[in-house]
């Protein structure tokens, strides 16, 4: 069944059951997302994809809300722009976004002032380098939850990681902060694959960035099978 709705004044016909994000993107409308990923359950938590839907009291997350017949949607209203811009400015004052290329693009598009909150307390954490497969730098983590999701019911059913703290102090963590080899982690690497900011990074890439040569890394035997000398 098809439905008809209006997005930014343009009448659009779509298949029923699709989200506003799908419909908008299929019709060439740019709706930014941070936490959304095709492989994980949409949680609608970054709120970057919020749009204004006529008749709704608050902005709606496009990644979750289904497109409905006769819906009137604005993807770039004043309220929407203010919310997106402020979220980006708060992100910039919270964490290290140096490797979050997509977020950086959004920041330039929305004219973000990265020093909007000059005396903000930033989330700064020591890099956790405790296993041969990947390093965790939670100063770069923007809490999109994807790693926790793929570690759990969205992919691997390993449940090695969850959350520590609450609110602004939330951080991804293991059982009593144990090193990765002491957890249920099977080093599948799916969390690294879905991380959008470089907070989770393959060990080899990390070492290369530290200035080590491939030769030196290979001597470390990182992530390689041990073979008895013949």
């Amino acid at each position: 069944m098809t439905i008809t709705l209006t997005i930014d004044g343009q009448e659009i016909t779509a298949e029923q059951g699709k989200t506003l994000l799908d419909v908008a993107r299929e019709n060439g409308k740019d709706v930014p997302t941070i936490c959304f990923h095709e492989a994980t359950t949409a949680n609608g938590l970054c709120r970057m994809c919020v749009v204004e839907v006529e008749g709704m009291r608050v902005l709606q997350p496009a990644c979750i809300v289904e497109a409905a017949n006769n819906m009137k949607v604005q993807t770039r209203s004043e309220k929407v722009i203010r919310a997106r811009k402020t979220i980006l400015e708060m992100l910039a004052s919270t964490m290290d976004l140096s490797e979050a290329a997509e977020v950086q693009t959004m920041m330039s598009e929305y004219g973000v002032d990265i020093n909007r909150f000059p005396d903000a307390e930033r989330r700064e954490v020591q890099v956790k380098d405790d296993n041969p497969m990947y390093v965790r730098d939670y100063s770069k983590c923007l809490l999109c939850w994807r790693c926790v999701q793929v570690c759990a019911d969205d992919a691997q059913y390993t449940y090695a990681i969850n959350f520590e703290g609450r609110g602004y102090e939330t951080q991804i963590g293991t059982f009593f902060d144990k090193a990765i080899p002491e957890t249920t982690c099977v080093l599948c690497g799916q969390c690294v694959g879905v991380c959008p900011t470089g907070a989770l990074k393959p060990k080899r890439e990390f070492l290369l960035e530290q200035g080590m040569s491939p030769q030196e890394i290979s001597v470390l035997n990182t992530g390689r099978k041990r073979r008895r000398d013949r």
């Binding site: 309220k79 979220i87 520590e164």
Partner: protein, 563 residues
């Protein structure tokens, strides 16, 4: 670690094992009762017993303020430092107690005897300043802090009408005094849909803050497909300035239980949960006694009063998380998870607890139900106004002569209510009233004649919220009030959605600075952008109202925010 003996843990949590993950919070409470805190081997054993992943158990302990994963004192003193207590010298009380034990806030004495913490609102606002000492409320504290009452807090109840509070103010009302659930007996003689229709006709709306029509909620759950349905009483009262549920449950527990049983009959539920905040430990024995009385008299249990209808209620205790008053976060908490609010829709009436149709109502809302069913909606509507029928409870605290719980018909003015509470204390002039709660708005002296009904308050831009009326006199520094609001929301944000997770932090930082007189250029706009972003774009009601009072203060006193 090795000196922790797991032997007492197994029998203590055995009854929660069949619940699986839903037994996690009760099991953690039970473990903490034995050991004082939850160590790694204890958490690991609970993980094995309930079959919950280790990291998830840890995540839950980390979420709730009242669970500890490091040792704390044998005695824990929690001093409320929120607005109502602050007006009555909470900071001095905290300093005095810390000084007495020679420790800083948040620390434990070297001998491990005492931990002192600053706490969010403890729901003892009319008895401020106040603290919680293990399971006892510390109230009626003398100005030199040497004399105080310890135990069950007393109830100060007043007002122009006594319907919901008819049995409040004189200790706990037993089942014998309350009567054998006459409204439930009456309801059982009718069809469930007749009960739903009666509640709809009464015009009752939720008293927890969202003001949703109760009958519509019940109808939704009653009509939802499925045979497994739930009724939940939301007693996670944590809105700063709110203490009505505390008094209703301590003094008249059967009214709430009867309301739940009627709701269950109306929607076809056989299982109920009463979720009470962890900061009300002294209410638990009262509720356990009331539940047992009701079961013995067959007001709860199998085949109630021979009607064929069966229903029972399980008591659930929160663990220090304001967000769990949000209905979907409360479901998550009962399910043994971190209290993250869910995306709505789907709504609880079709997808609630364990994904099943659920009615969740506030204590005061449920208290109205026996009244409506006993006398009929026509009689019920004779109190209050056409659009706001019934009586309303107001939690009056701060600078008034007689703080307390006041019951009045809808339509009374704020001026009349304040007069009942003896007016502004010490003959000072009124500066403002924090109306509706921390998630409310400030009212000014020129709004005293607004009639307190949903419709009049909406027109005046004042949210009724949870019925908070916190009074500030002319000598008060409103910047300090705002600073504490900022700290409250930053402490209580769950951290799920970005606007609230970061917005409550940025809001707190700016309000902290302003309270120290360090306003910088652009602070007003900065606060507005953060505030409106939270209001418009947050995932749940906490974030959507975390800036409500601040935005109202900006409107009233813009000078405070300009450099």
């Amino acid at each position: 670690m090795s000196d922790i003996d797991l032997a007492p843990l197994i029998p203590a949590i055995s009854s929660y094992i069949p619940m699986g993950r839903s037994g996690l919070l009760p099991a953690l409470h039970a473990a903490q009762k034995i050991y004082g805190w939850i160590s790694e081997p204890v958490a690991a054993q609970i993980s094995r017993s309930l079959n919950v992943p280790l990291a998830d158990v840890h995540g839950v302990i980390e979420f709730y303020s009242l669970f500890y994963n490091e040792p704390i004192g044998k005695k824990v003193i929690r001093v409320c430092t929120d607005q109502a207590c602050a007006l009555k010298g909470a900071d001095g009380l905290l300093r005095h107690i810390c000084g007495h034990y020679d420790i800083q806030t948040g620390q434990t004495t070297r001998d491990g005897a005492v931990t002192v913490e600053a706490s969010p609102c403890l729901g003892l606002c009319e008895l401020a300043p106040a603290a919680l000492v293990d399971a006892d409320a510390e109230t009626n504290i003398s100005s030199d802090f040497h004399h105080y009452d310890l135990g069950r807090p007393k109830s100060i109840v007043g007002g122009s009408i006594r319907l919901l509070t008819a049995s409040c103010g004189n200790g706990t009302t037993s089942l014998g005094q309350y009567g054998k659930y006459p409204a439930l007996a009456r309801a059982l003689g009718k069809k469930p849909e007749e009960i739903v229709n009666e509640i709809k006709a009464s015009g009752l709306v939720g008293r927890g803050g969202a003001a949703f029509p109760t009958g519509i909620k019940w109808e939704g759950a009653a009509k939802a497909p499925g045979t497994e349905k739930y009724v939940i009483c939301n007693a996670d009262e944590s809105e700063p300035g709110t203490f009505k549920d505390r008094i209703l449950l301590l003094d008249d527990p059967h009214r709430t239980l009867e309301g739940m049983a009627i709701a269950a009959y109306a929607i076809g539920a056989s299982q109920g949960y009463l979720y009470i905040r962890g900061e009300y430990p002294y209410i638990l024995p009262v509720l356990e006694t009331a539940l047992n009385e009701a079961r013995e008299a067959n007001m709860l249990g199998e085949n109630i009063l021979g009607s064929g209808f069966s229903f029972d209620i399980e008591l659930r205790v929160g663990a220090g998380a304001y967000i769990c008053g949000e209905e979907t976060a409360l479901f998550e908490s009962i399910e043994g998870k971190r209290g993250f609010p869910r995306v709505k829709p789907p709504f609880p009436t079709t997808h609630g607890l364990f994904g099943k149709p659920t009615v969740i109502n506030n204590v005061e809302t449920l208290g109205n139900v026996p009244l409506i069913i006993a006398q009929g909606s026509v009689e019920y509507r004779k109190i209050g106004t056409e659009k706001s029928p019934g009586a309303k409870l107001f939690c009056v605290s701060g600078d008034v002569s007689k703080p307390g719980l006041y019951e009045v018909p809808f339509g009374v003015t704020l001026r009349e209510l304040l007069a009942m509470a003896g007016g502004v204390a010490r003959e000072k002039k009124l500066e403002s009233v924090l109306f509706g709660g921390a998630a409310g708005a400030f009212a000014t002296p020129d709004q005293l004649d607004v009639k307190m009904t949903f419709e009049d308050l909406r027109a005046a831009g004042l949210p009724l919220g949870s019925g908070v009326v916190m009074v500030f006199d002319e000598t008060r520094d409103m910047r300090d009030v705002l600073k504490r609001l900022g700290h409250f929301f930053a402490h209580e944000s769950c951290g799920k959605c970005y606007p609230c997770q970061m917005g409550t932090q940025r809001q707190m930082e700016i309000l902290d600075r302003i309270s120290q007189g360090k306003v910088i250029t652009g602070d007003l706009i900065r606060l507005q952008d953060v505030g409106w972003t939270m209001t418009d774009a947050s995932l749940c009601g906490l974030g959507q109202t975390a800036a409500s009072a601040v935005l109202s203060a900006i409107k009233l006193w813009p000078g405070m925010f300009n450099a």
